[in-house]
């Protein structure tokens, strides 16, 4: 870990230098709809600085909505040719993601690379640098402190910036982070603590309390009531920084086309449906339970990480405003 400072005035210079270096820079941009999205930008003027959380996470940089697995062509003799060219995946910098999102990248990396490493994710991740910005503000949907994170944690980030008045506290965690630092703009840090500049995020529950009770939560009678409002859309899964389910679909003809990997959501009724018509998770209660149990129990068992990072997006985006922390509290009630 290396600690430095940069003046606020120099932030745009640093940012624009990143763009000039030929990297694709993805940063939060405020849209007319009032929502903030990650988008490829050309200059710091376009970047939104006043947002609590982006509407969607930045996972699409390393795990795009639609990823071309390969393209195929049928040759005249009936044989196929499969092509997969990833060489044009650009070096990308994600700027301004929140500490919860960057720690989500940690989970994604474990999930995709630990067992049966995923070629596509691997390449995209290698070419991605994360420059996070700590949260100075939080809202009622934020609950990172409940899942063991905080508004200033460095987990997952290559560089974490924390605004401290007219300067930024810069924590550089990785070699990749070091390599994008423009030394002229950064000076060694004066020993201030960043704590006072971080948002205060209310703790909704403590993982310690829940860890034990979640073991038996599968059988809780509360699931039905807790998921009554769920309408079975994919908004929560698609906005979630750690949801990784996908579908594989072919587009094109039998002569030529592409095989695509597209985001899918465990909330969809068709998600688990067998060809026979049998559906192991036949109702929305079971599907909602799968989603929550996966975040808080299964991923802990499989990877040792709670895969909910408390970003609160699913709460903000849900048409029925289902509240994940309320749900989890209620199903683990003694």
């Amino acid at each position: 870990m290396e600690i430095k400072t940069i003046t606020s005035a120099n932030i745009p210079v640093f940012f624009n230098n990143l763009v000039k270096s030929g990297k694709v820079v993805v940063a939060p941009v405020l849209k007319k709809s009032g929502k903030v999205f990650f988008e490829s930008v050309q200059s710091y003027d376009q970047v939104s600085t006043d947002y609590i959380q982006t509407a969607f996470s930045a996972k699409s940089v390393v795990f795009p909505e639609v990823e071309e697995l390969f393209s195929y062509t049928k040759k005249e003799d009936g044989d196929f040719e499969f092509r997969n060219d990833m060489s044009n995946v650009p070096e990308t910098v994600i700027w301004g993601l929140r500490p919860c999102d960057s720690s989500a990248f940690n989970y994604l990396t474990d999930f995709f690379l630990k067992e049966n490493p995923d070629t596509y994710f691997k390449l995209r991740k290698e070419r991605t640098t994360l420059i996070s910005v700590s949260c100075a503000k939080a809202d009622a949907a934020c609950f990172c402190t409940s899942v063991g994170l905080n508004p200033g944690n460095v987990t997952g980030s290559d560089i974490l910036l924390t605004a401290m008045g007219d300067s930024y506290y810069v924590e550089i965690s990785t070699e990749k982070g070091k390599s994008v630092i423009d030394t002229a703009l950064f000076t060694d840090s004066t020993e201030k603590s960043k704590e006072e500049f971080l948002a205060k995020v209310e703790t909704k529950f403590s993982m310690d309390e829940i860890r034990e009770r979640i073991q038996t939560a599968y059988d809780s009678a509360e699931w039905k009531h807790e998921s009554m409002g769920c309408l079975g859309c994919g908004a929560c899964a698609f906005s979630c920084p750690t949801c990784t389910c996908f579908d594989i679909q072919d587009e094109g003809s039998q002569e030529s086309g592409k095989r695509l990997r597209c985001w899918d959501a465990c909330g969809f009724g068709q998600f688990t449906r067998h060809a026979s018509g049998h559906n192991p998770k036949s109702n929305q209660t079971a599907r909602r339970r799968q989603r929550l149990m996966h975040k808080f129990k299964y991923s802990v068992e499989n990877f040792g990480i709670v895969s909910c990072v408390g970003c609160g997006r699913c709460i903000r985006v849900c048409p029925a405003h289902l509240n994940i922390f309320e749900n989890i509290l209620n199903v683990t009630k003694a």
Binding site: A55, E65, L231, A235
Partner: protein, 267 residues
């Protein structure tokens, strides 16, 4: 609020309902749907002008249907949806009690759908001015600019199908988008498929959409998808004089015709 809660408590006590779908307060000032199964939970029930969700969508949900006797707190859009759904014979398997709170903050418990119909006809909502303004603006653009506007909007669509999920008229057990023999609509969230999806959805709602605007309001990426159906509702009224969610009996616009329907484009 107390009045409403007392009324609902009464309905629970005399066994008229065993599940109440209403609104409660949440993190934001926007009230959210709540499901009351026990009389002790009635305290959370509220009704304000900000209660926007169209709760009638829940009447299609198997978990809700299981309750058998359902009370539903309806805003005007929900009432309209209930009328339309009744005309489409969707409520043969549930017993429902409809409540609303009128402008004077009086609680009304409707005794049957005819009363709902009368109430809806007396309080029939206008198109929202904001929507009309945006439509006017769009129509003032050149065709190429409209195409640009919509394709850019649809390029953001992630096919989460939240628009379908919140729509009370989207109750088909299997949607066209899930049919893959043939694959009518591409499943990947790319612009062509997204465009086809939204056109398809609008067409399948023609004459049935009750204009609650939920699809546009909840879209996670902020696409004003409801404009398509607003425009359609406008056209249908202009061309054929039909209104959806207006009467319990009657054909829906695309299920009927007049021999002298006018158009200016068939050669």
């Amino acid at each position: 609020m107390k009045l409403l809660q007392n009324k609902v408590a009464e309905l629970f006590e005399n066994g008229t309902i065993n599940l109440m779908i209403g609104f409660k307060e949440a993190l934001t000032k926007q009230p959210v749907p709540c499901f009351i199964e026990k009389a002790s939970e009635i305290e959370q029930l509220i009704y304000t002008k900000d209660c926007k969700n169209n709760l009638s969508v829940y009447l299609h949900k198997p978990e809700v249907k299981q309750a058998g006797k359902i009370g539903i707190l309806a805003n005007i859009a929900t009432l309209r949806a209930l009328v339309q759904l009744t005309s489409e014979n969707q409520f043969w398997d549930i017993e429902k009690t409809v409540l609303t709170v009128n402008d004077k903050e009086e609680v009304i418990v409707f005794s049957d759908m005819e009363e709902v119909e009368a109430y809806v006809q007396a309080n029939f909502p206008e198109f929202s001015e904001e929507d009309l303004k945006l439509l006017d603006y769009l129509e003032s653009l050149s065709r190429e600019d409209r195409w640009k506007y919509w394709t850019e909007q649809f390029s953001a669509c992630i096919k989460c199908y939240a628009c379908r999920a919140v729509c009370p008229m989207c109750y088909c057990p299997q949607c066209t988008v899930e049919c893959n023999q043939p694959q009518w609509i591409k499943t990947s969230a790319q612009t062509t498929g997204n465009l086809e999806w939204h056109i398809m959805r609008a067409m399948h709602l023609a004459g049935r959409c009750i204009n609650c605007g939920e699809c546009g309001r909840i879209c996670p990426v902020g696409i004003p998808v409801h404009l398509l159906t607003v425009k359609m509702n406008q056209d249908l009224f202009k061309e054929f004089g039909t209104k959806s969610g207006f009467a319990l009996k009657g054909d829906y616009a695309l299920n009927s015709f007049k021999p002298d329907d006018k158009e200016g484009f068939i050669k």
